[in-house]
């Protein structure tokens, strides 16, 4: 038996039922299951031992990608494969296509969901920087009604989020605006790997930059110092980029772990920021390669 721990399983058909199942007491507690690519691995490791799994894949509220109320709505149960294939995401949030394409491998992307990714909330969460620079809003259902949580307030620590116990993430809304972006992910080798560091940047038509980092702090974080420096400059020159690199290196707080040393992460964040900013500036000007590359891979240069 590959999972030693025993638990109950329920697949509710309605949101109300799902919230009730999460709220009903059970030894070990109840947890939500979406794609399971993190949760089942953690169950196998014995890292978590819930008494009940509540499978959210039967809930219509969590499915689909559409325009809703002037925003791009991405259901929490959208898989990375669905996000990559979505014409709406490609048109309105192409940066999300770029970062989703770098999540693990096809076999994981066919199953793993964006809602699960941000609820797992590991520091290397690939969706984190992208949703942060889009200033996405997390829509949450609780037994006491629905709530909206800005992405900036979402991550509280490694594997800790602002989702109250028993809450369910319904999806994400992303404001629509003309913009360009780029996502850089540093890995130990080509193909699938968790990020040693990641950088997402977004620039709008007025030259307002948003920058976020992954794997270089306890959670994905914004880069306010770099954002202030670049503000209003649609095409930063070499001198400005040099300053931005120094600020980026200073505003991250990496640690040494199995994937790399803190100093390597800190210095690479500067390199990644420079490449991502250049790429986003080129895309804003209508040049540059299509979304769906990793600027850290040699043939993307």
């Amino acid at each position: 038996m590959s999972i030693a721990h025993e638990f109950d399983y329920a697949k509710p058909a309605s949101l109300k039922e799902a919230l009730a199942l999460l709220a009903r007491p059970v030894p070990g507690g109840a947890v939500s299951l979406a794609g399971g690519t993190d949760l089942v691995a953690w169950l196998r490791d014995g890292a978590v031992s819930p008494g009940r799994l509540v499978d959210l894949k039967g809930l219509a509220e969590l499915r689909g990608i559409r325009l809703k109320g002037g925003k791009l709505w991405i259901g929490a149960a959208a898989t990375f494969a669905e996000i990559i294939a979505s014409p709406l995401v490609k048109r309105h949030a192409p940066l999300l296509v770029e970062s989703s394409g770098l999540v693990a491998s096809v076999g994981v992307r066919n199953r793993a969901t964006i809602g699960g990714n941000v609820c797992s909330a590991v520091p290397c969460c690939d969706s984190g920087p992208t949703l942060l620079v889009h200033e996405a809003v997390v829509h949450v259902a609780t037994p006491r009604g629905q709530k909206r949580i800005p992405m900036k307030q979402w991550f509280l620590g490694p594997r800790r989020t602002a989702l109250a116990k028993g809450g369910i993430v319904l999806g994400f809304s992303l404001p629509l605006a003309k913009h360009a972006g780029a996502f850089a992910k540093l890995k130990r080798y080509r193909g699938e790997d968790l990020a040693q560091a990641s950088v997402g940047v977004r620039v709008d038509a007025k030259g307002v930059w948003r920058v976020a980092y992954g794997s270089v702090a306890p959670t994905p974080i914004r880069g306010p110092k770099v954002e202030r420096l670049l503000k209003g400059v649609k095409k930063p020159d070499a001198a400005l980029l040099k300053k931005a690199v120094a600020l980026a290196e200073a505003e991250v707080a990496p640690i040494t772990d199995i994937r790399s040393s803190d100093i390597y992460r800190r210095l690479m964040v500067g390199v990644m920021l420079k490449r991502a900013v250049r790429l986003a500036a080129a895309r804003l000007a209508g040049r540059g390669p299509a979304y769906g590359i990793n600027v850290m891979e040699e043939d993307a240069q």
């Binding site: 590959s2 030693a4 025993e6 693990a104 491998s105 076999g107 199953r111």
Partner: protein, 164 residues
């Protein structure tokens, strides 16, 4: 225990499962399907790849109880009517040595060729990036998938063009 029904390689199979049994465990231990392998057990290596409703997924990270009512294809199902063109070409080019990764590689590559009959080299490498091979390396595998795609385009140009 709960009885689930899955369409396994075209045949409806019913089996009683506990919530903590993975799809991989149930396929191998209860349904007698042995081509999906347990390698890493955490979704990295791709040896446990199966097609779930046509899409390549990791059966080690899916609970059997989750796939009630869905269709699962393993290598046993792919080669049901004799080896496919891809399988024959893999044998001819001797792309596998120990064969542990072969079922996963064949399923991932087969799913790719259905979705994208004329993949680029990048597409092939991307589709197989999560199927680790420790023996022969990836060059002969990738070259063979590309060659099979090219050959199938020559054979059926009309239908391929109509689809793209």
């Amino acid at each position: 225990m709960k009885e689930i029904a899955i369409r396994l390689n075209g045949e409806v199979r019913r089996v009683a499962v506990a919530p903590n049994e993975t799809l991989l465990d149930v396929l191998r231990a209860k349904l007698g399907v042995k081509t999906p392998k347990e390698g890493c057990g955490r979704g990295d290596c791709g040896a446990c790849t199966v097609l779930l409703d046509g899409k390549a997924v990791r059966s080690c990270l899916i609970l059997a109880i989750e796939v009630d009512g869905q269709s699962v294809v393993t290598l046993e199902g792919v080669g049901k009517a004799g080896p496919t063109a891809l399988q024959k070409a893999f044998v001819k080019n001797n792309v596998f040595q120990c064969g542990f990764c072969a079922p996963g590689v064949i399923l991932s590559a087969s799913a790719l060729l259905v979705e994208k009959p004329q993949p680029s080299e990048h597409d092939v490498r991307e589709a197989l990036a999560g199927n680790l091979c420790r023996c022969t390396g990836y060059a002969p595998i990738v070259a063979t998938v590309l060659a099979v795609a090219k050959k199938s385009a020559k054979k059926k140009p009309a239908s391929r063009r109509a689809r793209s």
